[in-house]
């Protein structure tokens, strides 16, 4: 007995080890230029942390904000240029770091999207009144750290990498939510958020570990090799739902949406707007990648010989329908604008999930993930724009309630008009990017013959008109207590105007953007 145990030899050749390791290191070296945007972010994080300690507190919001803006735009430019120069025509995908992250046009598009969203959020932070007198070094470095996580999440093709990136997105945001730590609402919501996040993360990694157990590999591509015989099937179903839970948390989809309204209300508004766009988009990007590898439907044979089929696409469709209905119905009765936008963001998660349902689109036409990409592009401008106006209003008047928006229209005509455009976009009416995006989403769903889902989405759009229009009505048709003009800062007006213009451009001259979107593809 002992003989066999003790006499086994290890094949350990130092020379071979050295050569193999050398080649690994060379491949790492070669891959470094392709993560240039991420490296820029890491450098900026370090600089910001240190600058936050040495720059006088009074100047931090402006100077550090400017620095992070430059870093984000620089990283975004790098992301685009690395993406396009290496792959003319945005195709020919490849993987980096031994298959840990993908370098495909899908990832490049989302990276650019996150970094743009981050830049807008930085400007919003500057416009916001909530951070007067705060040390901002940590704020900006956490924001950039979370964006770094987003960039990695959109590109992750390995289950471990997905989990790590997801946590890198989440953990800094827990702190960002509680950044005004004396604020009681923020404290409450941050605690809820952190507990929810850790539970969802734990559940998700449990599911991922089951997949690892089934395949013996952490690569996403290995998911398609799972044999669906016998007991495996049950494990796959359980693991699938566990992993869905983790993604649903990030996307704020039912049933993992409970944190969303509280956190949106409690957090500082720039953080809310960050959560509603960048971190949600990252969750969607990873979910699309995961679903593509996992497959949308499976035929499962149970041990007894009976055969049942579980169509993941059905599950996603049901989640989508429930999510959008829940979000819209709850948003109807909200008084707080931030909370209402929180529920609206849940509803949008439902709309976007339609893109996952129709992911395997018809060849030559817009595919599901392309519709998601386009919707996020317009959602970026609509939602961030709406939040920018909300921030301006909150900073100038302290108003966060829908009631207190009464009569704001004549007091700040340009910005209120822009807010109306953003809200029309969020409803999904022409001539805005919201309409184009929603049209694409509905189209891919209808092409997949999920007519009921399209009808549910249509009804939901009709419901959502009520609460979005209420704000517009309050601003323009109701009389407020004051008629005094509200001060306009050039920066605020120009940012809001640009975003409104983009929303309109995406609604009218959308064809160049649709061209870009249609060239997006990802590794599968």
């Amino acid at each position: 007995m002992f003989q066999s145990v003790f006499a086994k030899k290890i094949d350990f050749e130092p020379k071979a080890f050295q050569e193999e390791f050398g080649s690994v290191i060379n491949s790492l070296k070669d891959n470094l230029p392709f993560i240039a945007p991420e490296l820029v972010l890491v450098g900026a994080i370090c600089v910001l942390i240190l600058a936050g300690l040495f720059v006088p507190r009074r100047d931090q919001k402006g100077s550090l904000g400017l620095f992070s803006l430059v870093a984000l735009l620089g990283a975004g430019w790098l992301a685009c240029s690395v993406g396009t120069s290496h792959f003319p025509g945005l195709e020919k995908p490849d993987t980096l770091f031994q298959g840990m992250i993908a370098f495909d046009s899908f990832a490049v598009f989302f990276k650019a999207l996150f970094l743009l969203a981050g830049a807008v959020v930085v400007i919003q932070t500057y416009l916001s009144h909530e951070f007067e007198g705060f040390a901002m070094g940590e704020y900006y470095s956490l924001m950039l750290a979370s964006l770094l996580g987003c960039c990695l999440l959109a590109a992750a093709t390995d289950m471990v990498m997905i989990y790590l990136a997801l946590e890198l997105v989440s953990i800094p945001t827990y702190i960002l939510v509680i950044y005004r730590k004396a604020d009681k609402r923020a404290t409450e919501s941050a605690l809820k958020y952190a507990i929810y996040g850790s539970v969802a993360g734990g559940v998700m990694i449990y599911g991922l570990s089951l997949f690892y157990g089934l395949t013996g590999s952490t690569a996403l591509t290995s998911l398609s090799t799972i044999s669906m015989e016998g007991a495996n099937a049950a494990v796959v179903v359980i693991a699938g739902f566990l992993v869905f839970a983790g993604f649903a948390y990030k996307m704020a989809a039912v049933p993992m949406h409970f944190w969303c309204p509280d956190v949106y209300e409690g957090a500082p508004i720039p953080v809310t707007s960050y959560l509603s766009v960048a971190s949600k988009a990252a969750g969607f990007a990873a979910f699309v990648r995961f679903m593509d590898a996992f497959g949308l439907g499976e035929q499962i044979r149970i041990a007894g010989g009976e055969s049942i089929s579980i169509q993941w696409v059905e599950v996603v469709a049901i989640i989508a329908a429930v999510t959008m209905t829940f979000g819209n119905l709850s948003a109807l009765f909200q008084d707080n604008v931030k909370r209402m936008l929180g529920y609206s963001s849940i509803a949008h998660a439902g709309y976007l999930l339609m893109g996952v349902v129709g992911m395997k689109g018809i060849a030559g036409d817009v595919e599901g993930f392309q519709a998601i990409s386009f919707y996020f592009l317009s959602y970026l401008f609509m939602n961030l724009g709406a939040f920018t106006v909300v921030i301006v209003i909150a900073s100038r008047t302290g108003a966060e309630n829908i009631e207190s928006y009464k009569g704001l229209g004549p007091r700040m005509p340009f910005r209120a008009a822009c807010l109306a455009i953003f809200l029309v976009g969020l409803i999904g009416l022409p001539p805005t990017g919201g309409f184009t995006g929603k049209f694409m989403l509905l189209k891919v769903v209808i092409l997949q013959k999920y007519y009921w889902l399209a009808i549910v989405a249509g009804i939901n759009t009709a419901i959502s008109v009520y609460y979005y229009a209420r704000i517009i009505k309050n601003m323009w048709l109701e009389k407020g207590s004051s008629t005094e003009q509200i001060l306009a800062s050039p920066l605020g007006v120009s940012v809001i105007g640009l975003q409104a213009a983009m929303v309109l451009v995406l609604g009218v001259f959308f064809s160049p953007f649709v061209d870009i979107i249609q060239r997006i593809s990802f590794l599968s």
Partner: protein
């Protein structure tokens, strides 16, 4: 099932360097009569017994030495009654402790109170598996040697916290909290020092590390480059703290906390804490000797070559092992003596000072020294004679200064006893 003769003959015995091999040599062919499943555990148990014997003898000696050193530093005589110059005093104390009652406070957590000394001792004792005494006298040369030390050495703190918490005594709790802070913090410079040595040796194994330092004295890692003495000082300071030795003896500060985390321990349980502490003292000093002072190497190249040349001369091997045993134990005991010396030289420092020393002095310096060492190792693989010479020159200045101070002091004390002219 019989232990194969082929394995014995081709030299690949189950452990290259081990006590087990010696026993093999003693038993010779008769070894084949014993089935493996009896032989192997027996060999390991023999190792345990040898080590427990060593620890006991070392503790007896070190406690006596500590008392003598402290006494002479304070111009006292210390224990003189039992045996020659009180040499048997510790044995008498030990026998007394055996007969002491075991008292567990009424409000204590009985189970944790019982487990604590077990964990503390079990966190130190396995470290002796990797502590080498000579080429042939060591339990086994684990290929993860230093990493093993870092990992298992960290277990002790659990026992200490457990002891303090379970006692339900405020003194104990304070002691335990201080111990936790201190032990945990000082693991960082300790780990960085390990890292530097691993980097230089390219191996975790203790025996490999010693082999890298064979030859002349200048091959010792202490003299590898001008930054290594910094690492050594930091390691030694951290190891003092890890052993809870003065000036880092806050967890058991007699004058403030009665006896710290083991206030509520009496009789044999107390002795176990004591034994573990002294065992840890030897372990850290032996490891420091291995890491920086060439282990069992004498530092004289011709002598080493002569000792290693055992062809046709079986007694030479025995001689070599004996010399090396003496050398490494002497080096370790010298470091143990320095520990005692420091105890009676430096006053105990406060908790905030402890944290200051660890995080603001040792950590940055060790980090910088580590990076510098790796850069030097990158530029001049295997070290550089000029750097070694530079190290010796630079660091001999403070060393000579210290020696002068000691000389002044001892001569001064001596002069006090010489009757003056009056």
């Amino acid at each position: 099932m019989i232990f194969g003769g082929t394995m014995l003959s081709n030299g690949l015995v189950f452990a290259r360097y081990s006590l087990a091999e010696w026993i093999q040599g003693l038993l010779g062919d008769r070894l084949e009569m014993i089935p493996e499943w009896i032989l192997f555990p027996l060999l390991m148990l023999a190792g345990c017994l040898v080590i427990i014997g060593f620890i006991t003898v070392f503790a007896l000696f070190a406690i006596w030495m500590e008392r003598k050193v402290s006494a002479h530093m304070q111009c006292r005589l210390g224990p003189m009654e039992v045996g020659f110059h009180g040499a048997l005093q510790t044995i008498a104390d030990g026998v007394k402790l055996l007969g002491k009652e075991d008292i567990v406070p009424r409000h204590a957590d009985k189970l944790l109170h019982y487990l604590a000394p077990i964990i503390v001792f079990a966190g130190v004792f396995p470290l002796f598996v990797v502590v080498p005494f000579s080429e042939k006298i060591l339990i086994s040369d684990i290929n993860l040697g230093l990493f093993f030390v870092a990992a298992v050495g960290a277990v002790e703190v659990v026992g200490v916290i457990m002891a303090g918490w379970a006692s339900n005594n405020k003194w104990s709790l304070f002691g335990a909290m201080r111990a936790a802070t201190q032990l945990v913090s000082y693991e960082i410079p300790l780990g960085l020092a390990f890292l530097t040595i691993i980097l230089l040796a390219g191996s975790f194994s203790m025996v490999d590390i010693i082999h890298q330092q064979e030859g002349w004295l200048s091959n010792w890692f202490l003299f590898h480059n001008p930054f290594m003495p910094i690492i050594f000082l930091s390691f030694f300071t951290a190891s003092l703290a890890e052993c809870k030795r003065a000036p880092f003896d806050l967890p058991e500060a007699e004058s403030e906390l009665v006896s710290g985390f083991h206030t509520e321990y009496s009789g044999m349980k107390f002795s176990i804490f004591f034994l573990a502490e002294y065992a840890a003292m030897y372990v850290v000093c032996a490891i420091a000797a291995v890491m920086f002072l060439g282990g069992w190497s004498t530092g004289i190249k011709p002598l080493e070559a002569w000792l290693a040349d055992s062809a046709g001369n079986p007694m030479r091997e025995v001689l070599s092992n004996t010399v090396h045993l003496v050398v490494i134990v002497t080096k370790s005991m010298f470091l143990v003596f320095v520990q005692m010396w420091l105890r009676w030289t430096l006053p105990r420092i406060r908790l905030d000072q402890i944290m200051h020393v660890c995080l603001k002095v040792l950590l940055p310096w060790t980090m910088v020294a580590m990076v510098a060492t790796s850069a030097i190792e990158l530029c001049w693989p295997g070290g550089n004679m000029v750097l070694t010479a530079l190290t010796i020159v630079i660091w001999s200045i403070p060393l000579l200064w210290t020696l002068k101070a000691i000389l002044d002091m001892t001569v001064g004390i001596f002069l006090k006893f010489v009757p003056s002219g009056r």
